[in-house]
């Protein structure tokens, strides 16, 4: 049996014919298995959605109660029979509720990892290695220049800057699902115990994280705070808000941005960032290659990002490897954080 007899890559996502479902489809389908809540993977309008409880909750927060015809919560490690296939979910370490999905048929195991990272994150369960024959990997940071191993070091850089410029506000651009809460948790782990300010767009998701027992300390909303009160404070906001009118309420703000893209200077400069923080919720090059090797897979499918380099690397290691041309993955920021209307006070 060939892997393609189980999963077929199509431009709108991976389709499992014998199981009668799609994984992270980018257009509405009858039955969708969703790896995690970022909007490039989790879209509204499917007939049935199977995902972890957290992912379903996050989709409901973002799209409203009617985001799907029906839903089914799947626990990590639980085994489901779908058509002719066996399916189970495992932690992916990307954001709260994120999962890898293993699809098995007649002894052939395929793991669709969604987005993942193999480093500790206090806001979600750690990545679990799932041995398989075919591994479907993302490649957001699939170039050997991307290495982001010291998130704690990046946070101390931020704290040193806050100490050096007490009269300025520090704005930290971060994706509102996952990164924002991880940055807050990292700040707490570094001993920062002051109130952390939040942009309104992060309100619901952050409250949800807290309701799931993730300790983020005291958070406040910027809304209503006076300019002078914001001196010496840290505010987490969507990246797009840093260049928006919204940012003018802060005293001489230092623009920080927590993202794996900050590793490359040209990218940081394009964003007008003055304090880049290399903190990523995706595996870096070393993480991708180590994980792929550890799964023991003989075949690698690469979904989105810098596919060429990862495919080349796998081939030099004797694996079969191919890029999947799925349209619409990898822009979690753009789709996730529509800029608030201009002129919003």
């Amino acid at each position: 049996m060939r892997p393609e007899d189980i999963l077929v890559p199509t431009p709108s996502g991976v389709c499992c014919k014998p199981g009668g479902f799609h994984i992270d489809p980018t257009r509405p389908v009858d039955k969708a298995l969703i790896t995690h809540g970022h909007s490039d993977h989790a879209r509204a309008g499917h007939g049935a959605v199977l995902a972890t409880q957290e992912t379903l909750d996050i989709m409901r927060l973002r799209y409203g109660d009617n985001f799907a015809g029906s839903t089914q919560a799947v626990a990590y490690g639980e085994t489901l029979k779908l058509g002719d296939t066996t399916v189970s979910f495992y932690p992916a370490g990307h954001v709260l509720g994120s999962a890898q999905i293993k699809v098995e048929r007649k002894g052939l195991r395929i793991v669709a990892s969604g987005d993942y990272k193999d480093v500790p994150d206090p806001t979600c369960l750690p990545f679990e290695l799932v041995p398989c024959d075919v591994f479907i990997s993302e490649a957001t940071f699939g170039l050997p220049v991307f290495r982001h191993h010291d998130a704690a070091g990046e946070v101390s850089k931020l704290l040193r800057s806050v100490a050096l410029f007490p009269e300025r506000a520090h704005l930290v651009g971060a994706y509102s699902l996952g990164k924002a809460q991880r940055v807050i948790a990292l700040l707490r782990a570094a001993g920062y115990d002051k109130s952390i300010y939040l942009h309104g767009a992060m309100e619901k998701i952050t409250a949800y994280y807290q309701s799931r027992g993730i300790d983020l300390g005291a958070v406040e909303f910027v809304r209503g705070a006076k300019k002078s009160e914001l001196a010496g404070t840290i505010t987490i906001c969507p990246p797009s808000a840093m260049t928006d009118l919204w940012s003018r309420r802060f005293p001489d703000p230092v623009a920080a941005f927590a993202s794996g893209w900050m590793r490359v200077r040209a990218r940081a400069r394009q964003r007008g960032v003055s304090l880049p923080l290399v903190i990523s919720d995706h595996a870096d090059w070393d993480g991708l290659t180590a994980t792929i090797a550890a799964t023991g897979c003989s075949e690698l499918w690469v979904t989105h990002g810098q596919e060429d380099a990862l495919v080349h690397w796998a081939q030099t290691r004797g694996m079969k490897a191919r890029p999947l041309d799925i349209v619409g993955y990898g822009d979690e920021e753009e789709s996730e954080n529509p800029a608030p209307p201009e002129g919003e006070a």
């Binding site: 050096l164 003055s274 810098q306 690397w313 002129g343």
Partner: protein, 548 residues
């Protein structure tokens, strides 16, 4: 190396001058000798290592990485040093306990032979992390390019001891890395170092801008006036070292040694003195415009052809020092007399005195400024940028004291142009559309871009333009917005500029010097903005600037 790397990293991204100073000062305060001194040397451009070249770095990385992966990475990152710093294969867990310090690197490189360099670089690159490797490569290959001038770094150093930057500047030429005696003095642990340099730079005195209305509060009898030449303000210094050899140097007004660019002037600095003056090109006794002088700037090598075709000349304004006498505390009128006598003694065709503008009353000076040709500048009028007013009794004080010196530039040229594109600014302005491309009408009644300006407006005007841009966007290209610019809708900007040049690089065929927004013409419909013919008429026969 790690703290130095973090400093370079922050400086490279920080747009604000004062914030850069704070970052450097914080580093100098926290880091011990001699590391901080070598770091200061790196920031002021006082270090250079002749063997470390990009080619060697390229060879090192090629030996360690898959060529296809390197090519993809280099293509993505776009900068060799950065690509190497990021993809250098090293396992953080296997890393040596000891990372090299700035001192290790500087001292090792100063003695290391070319043959040992690759192995040494490899050891260092293995021991450092991404940022450390990037800083190391910046340090050894020179060219920091992080937007820090030597002056800025010295200003930060001075702030350690609450000293004026000029105090550091005066003693700087006599100091050597790692500047132990400098830090000792700044931290109150030692005496002020003395400058033993035989031809030191003396911090320049600068003027404030004058408006015509300011004249009412000033007495014409207190002042002397001279032409403000459109050249390069320099300080030409000559002295004798301990061995009796003559040393001649030319400094920019910020104290940068630019002798190498103008070797043809140095033989004329025969007598021990420090002259404040303007560097110009003189042909057949006539001062040439700045556009001509520009041909001599930013040259890697100065050829005989260049020095013949563009003969250098110094118009002297002031004399700060002569044969052991510091003249800076004398009144200007006395220094001027000393200057005249000195130049008579020097008697060199390449150096002469910048003539005074004679006047008894302000209306006479106003007339001379309006028409320098008739006011005494004659055929050199084209190179006159305005007039300088100097109090007769003023000493030569470094920096920009208010009152003793005034610069009064000629009226700029003015056109009305239409705003076409706006781009977001940086730093404090990152939420504002603050960089404007403007155009004028051509013969086909199309708007053609003629320039870009990002200053001249007030903070309130910036807010008004920003609002206009956001409400009238017709197209977005990344950080750039195209705004509506039709004959009856759009924003007319009054643009002031100092000169015009023909340009093959601009579609309109003209390029402006120092364009800035002088007024917002909300009252004016775009169709009444200026036309390209108006600009073409402003260009004189030779393509040089003409008065408005």
């Amino acid at each position: 190396m790690n703290r130095f790397a973090e400093l370079l990293d922050r400086l490279a991204y920080e747009p604000g001058r004062n914030n850069k100073i704070r970052l450097i000062a914080d580093y100098l305060r926290k880091v011990e000798d001699p590391d901080r001194g070598y770091a200061l040397a790196a920031l002021t451009g006082a270090l250079s290592f002749k063997h470390a070249k990009a080619g060697m770095i390229r060879t090192l990385i090629a030996e360690r990485t898959d060529p296809a992966l390197f090519a993809l990475s280099y293509d993505y990152v776009g900068d060799l040093s950065e690509t190497v710093a990021l993809m250098w294969p090293s396992d953080p867990a296997q890393r040596a306990n000891k990372t090299p310090t700035v001192t290790d690197v500087v001292e090792t490189l100063s003695t290391l032979g070319k043959a040992q360099l690759p192995a040494q670089m490899t050891r260092w690159l293995d021991a450092l992390d991404e940022n450390g490797r990037w800083a190391l490569l910046k340090l050894v290959t020179g060219g920091m390019r992080i937007g820090v001038s030597a002056r800025l770094a010295k200003t930060a150093a001075a702030s350690l001891g609450d000293k004026a930057p000029d105090e550091v500047e005066i003693i700087w030429p006599g100091l050597e890395p790692p500047y132990l005696e400098l830090f000792a003095w700044l931290e109150g642990r030692g005496d002020k170092p003395t400058n033993l340099d035989p031809a030191p730079f003396r911090p320049a005195m600068l003027a404030h801008a004058l408006e015509e209305t300011d004249l009412a509060g000033l007495d014409a009898a207190d002042f002397m006036a001279e032409w403000k030449w459109d050249g390069i303000r320099v300080q030409a210094v000559s002295g004798v070292d301990q061995d009796g050899n003559k040393v001649a140097r030319l400094y920019s007004r910020t104290g940068e040694d630019i002798s190498k660019s103008f070797p043809d002037l140095l033989p004329s600095l025969r007598l021990p003195a420090a002259i404040d003056g303007e560097l110009l090109i003189l042909r057949d006794g006539r001062v040439q415009s700045f556009n001509v002088l520009q041909q001599r700037l930013n040259r890697k090598t100065v050829t005989a052809k260049l020095t013949t075709e563009f003969p250098i000349h110094l118009h002297a304004y002031d004399l700060l020092y002569e044969s052991g006498d510091d003249l800076r505390d004398l009144p200007f009128a006395d220094r001027r007399a000393r200057l005249e006598a000195f130049l008579a003694k020097l008697n060199d065709p390449r150096i002469d005195i910048s003539p005074l503008v004679t006047f008894d009353t302000w209306p006479q000076l106003i007339a001379a400024r309006a028409d320098p040709a008739a006011g005494g500048a004659g055929l050199d009028a084209e190179a006159v940028e305005g007039v300088m007013l100097k109090r007769r009794d003023a000493p030569y004080s470094p920096g920009r004291p208010k009152g003793p010196w005034w610069k009064w530039k000629r009226d700029p040229m003015i056109i009305d142009a239409v705003l076409m594109y706006a781009q977001r600014g940086h730093g404090k302005r990152s939420s504002f559309y603050s960089d404007y491309t403007f155009g004028v009408w051509n013969g086909d009644d199309q708007l053609v871009p003629v320039g870009k300006a990002y200053f001249g407006f007030t903070d309130d005007e910036l807010k008004e333009i920003d609002r206009f841009v956001r409400r009238n966007t017709v197209n977005k290209f990344g950080p750039v917005r195209e705004v509506t610019h039709e004959s009856d809708t759009g924003l007319v900007l009054e643009v002031a500029f100092e000169g015009l040049q023909r340009s093959t690089r601009h579609k309109s065929g003209v390029a402006m010097r120092f364009p800035r927004i002088s007024r917002l013409r909300w009252d004016k419909p775009p169709r009444d903005a200026d036309r390209l013919e108006t600009l073409e008429k402003m260009l004189d026969k030779s393509g040089n600037k003409v008065p408005a």
